[in-house]
Symmetry: C2
Subunit: 127 residues, 2 copies
């Protein structure tokens, strides 16, 4: 059984969750090529829709994700990957998780600490 | 600040995570209308792409999701919602989580117990 890449124009959704703390770190997409490389290498590879190419997570920052477990959803069009997040942060804004803001009665509030300065890690902007 | 509904044709991605165990239960989509109703009622409302309409989670099964916390990602095009899952299961296949299969050397293997029989809950097939 393979993920169903046909259902959504060649891409599947992927959620990356910390294998130890269960924190949801990020979500993104995979093409079939990205999926196959992830399976082969044990490092998470996504597909960047904005850059329209394979995106080896951490290729600029060094913050790679090592695969600990891969799960598939009922519809076979999305994966949940439990990962070991190398280098503290998954988010290019410098937070461990991309979900670093929570809604409150006073609007969205940052609930995590920044663990790196994106300008230092990427120069301008990165992955 | 609102989620960015423009970026992906009117829909945002939504991950539902158990607020107590941190298990990822499912992921789906929300339209602006679904988001607003979720915010107003405290019950998770999705948008069903196959049925092309608002989908009040649990409307058939009774397995509603009560909002405990809503988080937004760096790009503002996805939400992580911590929920109280009423009625044991989020998945229409009868498992607590839609991610009930894990890849092994022998292929995909079911790693969770079925907590209800879909045929009893839905008749044929449901949400």
């Amino acid at each position: 059984m393979r993920p169903d890449f046909e259902r959504n124009g060649g891409l599947i959704r992927v959620i990356a969750q910390d294998a130890v703390t269960y924190e949801v770190l990020m979500d993104a997409f995979m093409s079939e090529e990205a999926f196959d490389e992830t399976m082969r290498t044990g490092r998470v590879v996504y597909y960047s829709r904005s850059r329209m190419r394979i995106w080896r997570k951490g290729e600029e920052s060094g913050h790679v994700q090592l695969v600990r477990s891969i799960r598939i959803n009922c519809n076979r069009d999305a994966l949940l990957i439990l990962v070991e997040q190398v280098g503290l942060a998954a988010c290019h804004d410098g937070y461990r998780s991309c979900y670093y803001r929570e809604i409150t009665d006073d609007g969205w509030k940052v609930i995590s600490e920044r663990v790196f300065d994106p300008q230092v890690v990427y120069g301008k902007k990165g992955t």
